[in-house]
């Protein structure tokens, strides 16, 4: 069963977007046969979920053009991008660890939701992101569905 991890932190401004989108899409994906976890976790803490899975999608915030949804193509990109997200530190290394232990998923995709500010401690999102949450959720849904139909094995791990 393909696994989707929605990541975020509810006290870091736009970083909560992954959690919100996850709540919006959880039932829909589960009805379609996906396993869904909405997690306030990162890096090595994700190993327990990812290890041994066949197909994994990780949805998280990333600094960029607000509302854009980007597919992070490979592990090297993930390493470069982690300063732009609170959660990627340790994720590339976790994947390398799982690979070394023959526990890495065959298909691994990171889907970044571009936001303005995932770092500031705040219980509010940026207004421009708040306005388009439903739109973003649909983009994420379509992205995952497309990838699931045609797994590209892009995580070069």
């Amino acid at each position: 069963m393909p696994l989707i991890l929605f990541l975020g932190n509810p006290i870091y401004s736009d970083d909560r977007i992954g959690l919100i989108v996850g709540e919006k899409l959880k039932n829909r994906f589960e009805e379609e046969g996906f396993e869904v976890e909405i997690l306030e976790k990162s890096g090595y803490n994700l190993v327990d979920y990812i290890a041994g899975q066949e197909i994994v999608f990780v949805v998280d915030s990333i600094v960029g053009e607000v509302g854009e949804v980007v597919l992070i193509e490979n592990l090297e990109d993930l390493k470069i991008l982690f300063p732009r997200s609170p959660h990627y530190s340790g994720l590339p290394e976790s994947l390398e660890l799982m690979k070394a232990l023959n526990l890495a998923p065959k298909n691994f995709f990171v889907i970044g939701i571009c936001v303005k500010d995932p770092f500031t401690i705040s219980d509010k999102m940026s207004p421009e992101l708040e306005e388009i949450v439903d739109f973003v959720a649909e983009r994420v849904y379509n992205c995952i569905k497309l990838l699931h139909l045609q797994p590209r094995n892009k995580a070069k791990i």
Binding site: N9, V47, S89, G90, E93, L97, A100, L101, F119
Partner: protein, 484 residues
């Protein structure tokens, strides 16, 4: 022309910090500064919120030590509402907390700090990581580490509701009692944990301590500071992660102070440097004498080595044996920063033994796990030993329990003076003649990685990749180079 190098941590969570290394005309390091992010923004965020929410909110500061924040916060709430939890609740909290300590220390030993020694400080960058560790110790060991951490985390989830952001603690106790099924599994896990910790100690001895080169590095003057040390101790002055008195020993190992956390402001003051946003805690009665070590300087340290230095022993037999062996070898107090890794392994053993002890204590099955608070709140202060050192939560509220002021004194803050000195000394010792290569920078990084600093993840990164960009300046302030 002299140069300045700055290692600038990536912007993460609540801010950024950097390391600046200044070179003279000959290219020798003349000074290095370490700056780390603060958590003050978070304290402001706490104002106006209900104190009961703080254990959940504070555990979300970062993903590194949520259980420590949760527990310090819950203890502050006990104090705020003047309610003493039942013995069973205290024991379950301590058991839960030791599960966290073991899991967190294992992460550092095998993945974060371990590669520096298990693979080697001067190993190529691409090998100085967890993959290098697995190559060295074998895939089976890697699976063992992953499996043990997973078992611990699953147990934490069963006891605390969630692994990362537990909902275990409430003012006056815990949210739910344990049942026999969980306790039965805890007893099995306790045995496995002790075996795992013993195995880790053996790995450390076989790979690190039996290697003269590594031992020389650990004991080298470049990584040594004679400072004060602080940690929680029980009634027999033994290490305790969950509760006790704060004890400070001087650089000669003599008790300097022992106090209840309620009096921490009588003992600890904070100094401000113009070049950093972070304050530098120091011992009030000694005073701030700058970034220097020795008996006359108020700089002190927390974290595993400091805990062992400030205690008279360990409360469990296997950990005590390992404790004695370390101090026989290094002397006590041990001032060698890199011995932090050794102390961490000893603490793993203590945590595992304590889990086993508490899992076999019949009192943890007592169903009375909470005393309901009735007092009006005003001030609450709580303390635990986080993996990285002493963590204090201090809340002041109105009569409704709404936070008016919060002060969180985190381990990395206590350590910042010593970390600054460590980086400075390592850089001065290692960077000569303008040679600033990756291997040397890694050895500078090792000086602060040993503390396992929790700058909300920013520097909590891995060997093999610089956790911070490096800026090179000349003495005129001209930026010459950035290394990322």
């Amino acid at each position: 022309m002299s140069k300045e190098i700055i290692i600038d941590p990536i912007t993460r969570l609540e801010g950024h910090g950097k390391i600046a290394i200044i070179l003279d005309d000959k290219g020798d390091c003349v000074r290095a500064f370490f700056q780390v992010p603060e958590l003050r923004g978070f304290e402001k965020f706490a104002e106006g919120r209900h104190a009961e929410d703080m254990p959940q909110i504070t555990s979300r500061i970062c993903g590194v030590c949520p259980t420590a924040h949760h527990m310090a916060s819950v203890k502050a709430l006990d104090d705020l509402y003047k309610v003493d939890p039942p013995r069973s609740a205290k024991k379950i909290r301590e058991l839960f907390y030791n599960l966290f300590m073991l899991e967190d220390h294992a992460l550092h030993v095998y993945i974060l700090g371990g590669p520096d020694f298990i693979v080697g400080p001067d190993a190529p960058k691409e090998e100085r990581n967890v993959i290098g560790v697995i190559k060295k110790v074998g895939q089976e060991v890697g699976l063992k580490v992953i499996g043990m951490r997973k078992s611990i985390r699953q147990m934490m989830e069963r006891i605390g509701g969630k692994t990362i952001h537990p909902v275990l603690g409430v003012p006056g106790g815990i949210s739910k009692p344990l049942n026999e099924e969980i306790v039965k599994e805890l007893r099995i896990l306790g045995d496995q944990a002790v075996e795992f910790a013993q195995f880790t100690l053996k790995v450390f001895k076989d790979i690190v301590l039996s290697n003269k080169k590594y031992l020389d590095l650990i004991t080298s003057e470049a990584y040594t500071h004679r400072t004060y040390y602080m940690g929680l101790v029980d009634s027999k002055n033994r290490v305790n992660f969950y509760d006790g008195m704060l004890r400070v020993v001087d650089p000669n190992g003599k008790e300097f102070a022992k106090f209840d956390v309620h009096n921490y402001l009588d003992y600890i003051a904070e100094h401000v440097e113009p070049w950093s946003y972070m304050t530098f805690p120091y011992l009030k009665k000694i005073g701030w004498k700058g970034l220097v070590d020795g008996e006359q300087s108020g700089i002190y340290s927390v974290a595993p080595l400091a805990r062992l230095n400030s205690a008279d022993g360990m409360a469990t037999p296997l950990a005590q044996e390992a404790y004695e062996e370390m101090f026989d070898k290094l002397g006590k107090p041990a001032h060698q920063t890199l011995a932090m890794h050794w102390a961490r392994v000893i603490e793993m053993l203590y945590a595992a033994e304590r889990i086993r002890e508490l899992a076999n204590d019949p009192e943890i099955l007592d169903q009375n796990v909470r005393n309901i608070p009735t007092a009006k709140p005003s001030v609450g202060i709580g303390v635990v030993e986080a993996p990285r050192g002493t963590l204090i939560h201090h809340y002041e509220t109105d009569e409704r329990g709404v936070v008016k002021r919060a002060n969180l004194l985190v381990a990395t803050q206590h350590n910042v003076g010593r970390i600054s000195m460590s980086v400075d000394k390592a850089a001065r010792s290692l960077i000569k003649g303008g040679v600033v290569n990756e291997g040397l920078l890694n050895m500078v990084e090792m000086a602060f990685r040993a503390y396992d600093p929790c700058n909300a993840c920013g520097t909590h990164t891995l060997p093999g990749s610089l956790p911070v960009p490096i800026y090179i300046y000349n003495t005129s302030g001209e930026l010459l180079k950035i290394i990322r």
